[in-house]
């Protein structure tokens, strides 16, 4: 699974998934911490819809961590102050970059978690849809 989809699942889903994946890597492979979780900023670039131009909206606080496994550097970045999750994400990122066989075993779990996230979103949106307006035209 590619990184974009994978990180969506790991961040939006239950944080235990990332924790379990990272623990299973650490049991089998040596891991060097290059940057321990630290706080920083990510500047948000956005497209405005009046003239279709770009501007900077402001910054979001992020936690970043970097680790090395099998000479591959993994990066974990997540919005907010989430030291543990950032480190777990970095370990998982390094595992995928190093093409460790264990990553193939994660696929089913990730797909299950993706379904669970989708269900929650759909449920949330269904609740919001209760506030959708049904206009009735009045005869005057």
């Amino acid at each position: 699974m590619k990184r974009r989809r994978r990180t969506e699942i790991l961040i939006q889903g239950d944080s235990h998934v990332a924790k379990e994946f990272a623990a299973s890597i650490l049991e089998q492979y040596p891991c060097n911490e290059i940057i321990s979780p630290r706080y920083g900023l990510t500047m948000l670039k956005i497209r405005e819809s009046a003239k279709n131009s770009l501007f900077y909206l402001g910054e979001v606080l992020v936690t970043e961590a970097k680790v090395e496994i099998n000479q591959q550097i993994g990066i974990g970045i997540v919005a907010g102050m989430k030291d543990e999750l950032a480190k777990h994400l970095a370990i998982i990122d390094a595992a995928y970059k190093a093409k460790l066989p264990i990553t193939n075993e994660w696929e089913i779990r990730l797909l299950e978690e993706e379904q669970s996230i989708l269900k929650k979103k759909v449920k949330k949106q269904a609740a919001l849809m209760e506030t959708k307006v049904n206009f009735e035209t009045m005869d005057i």
């Binding site: 990184r3 501007f55 970043e64 449920k123």
Partner: protein, 371 residues
């Protein structure tokens, strides 16, 4: 009369800071940061927006430390921001990808996808609810459980719906101009001081982090006649927008290689403003332009006011203060305006003594002349 340099006050300052802590604690009660997060959504959103730093937890902490003073909380968060390194820039965010929680139009009744009221104070009675004084945790749990049951009974959808923009629908009909994608890298007012004339990216960056009250007041001033813009709101949308960053060490990475890092809640407004334009046959005709407003959190008044000011500043030829970018952009920042105003209470002994000397001198001259 000579000037005297003075020093001292260290002990008084220390005692004053202690007194400040006493004022915060004397009620022998404290509020948890989590409680502020859970109960003061509007305030947290406003602090993040004016500080230009999105982190609800730190905004709540700033509110606690500042005892609810908005300007102080914004100052604290802005100061904290200045201690952190900027590690990444996001990929371009597009609000079509927003998970919409609220979306309305004042221009059209029937918009594609429909009008979603979401959570809003717009239709509430502005009467104090005295029952909240007695609200207990079990009341809250019971209400939530009943609400969740009610919501569970509603028809579930199959997939998440992403709402189209109202303006895109109008562009397809040829009623609004379609601008090509403009990919010029934006200017950044946190890296380079604002100079005039400002670029569009600088203008929007200043407006989005402007003080809510100041942005609202100037937007209102334009409506009242100190400007030429009176729009109809085409769309207000509130919701969460995902953030992605590209891998910093991988050259030629693909879209699928980006890192998802989380999301931000935003309010976005597109206002439709009628303007007279000359057509190809040299005749004047009415057309619409779009005023754009956006800010962190749910703050619809600020976003609408920003959309008015965006349009005002796009027409600097109008002889009104709200169309003067120097007037607008240099006076709406919370930290700059509150900082400058409040510095007036700090010691100005030398400058004031100098003014007194001048007045005394003039008076003596007048007395001499009269004698």
């Amino acid at each position: 009369m000579g000037y005297v340099a003075v020093k001292g006050g260290t002990k008084a300052i220390e005692a004053s800071i202690k007194r400040l802590k006493y004022e915060r604690l004397k009620g022998q009660d404290s509020i948890h940061v989590e409680t502020i997060l859970a109960t003061m959504r509007g305030m947290v959103d406003q602090v993040m927006s004016e500080a230009s730093l999105y982190d609800p937890y730190l905004a709540a902490l700033a509110i606690k430390q500042a005892e609810g003073s908005m300007e102080e909380a914004v100052f604290l968060l802005r100061a904290h921001r200045s201690t952190l390194p900027r590690l990444y820039y996001s990929q371009t965010m597009e609000t079509e990808n927003m998970f919409v929680e609220r979306r309305i139009s004042a221009s059209f009744k029937d918009i594609p996808g429909g009008q979603l009221l979401g959570a809003t104070y717009d239709y509430t009675h502005r009467l104090l609810d005295f029952q909240l004084i007695e609200e207990t945790k079990s009341d809250i749990e019971q209400w939530l459980s009943e609400y969740e049951q009610e919501v569970n009974c509603s028809n579930p959808q199959e997939e998440v719906i992403y709402f189209p923009k109202v303006v895109d629908y109008l562009r397809e009909e040829g009623l609004f101009e379609t601008n090509p994608l403009e990919n010029t890298p934006p200017d950044d007012i946190t890296k380079k001081s604002l100079q005039f004339p400002a670029s569009r990216s600088e203008r929007l960056q200043v407006l989005t982090r402007g003080q809510t009250g100041a942005v609202t007041s100037l937007g209102y001033a334009s409506l009242r006649g100190y400007g030429q813009v009176h729009p109809t709101v085409g769309e207000v949308r509130v919701g969460n927008l995902p953030i992605y960053v590209s891998p910093p060490t991988e050259e030629e990475s693909e879209y699928e290689d980006d890192y998802y890092i989380g999301e931000v809640k935003l309010t976005e407004v597109e206002s439709f403003v009628p303007v007279m334009k000359q057509n190809n046959r040299n005749k004047k005709e009415l057309e619409f332009e779009i005023g754009y407003g956006i800010c962190f959190g749910q703050n619809e008044t600020k976003a609408i006011a920003m959309s008015i000011l965006d349009q005002c500043l796009d027409h600097p030829e109008a002889p009104y203060p709200t169309h003067d970018e120097e007037f607008v952009l240099l006076h709406i920042d919370s930290v700059e305006s509150t900082g400058f105003i409040s510095h007036l209470k700090l010691p100005h002994y030398v400058t004031f003594q100098s003014k007194l000397d001048s007045v005394r001198g003039v008076k003596q001259e007048v007395e001499k002349d009269e004698n």
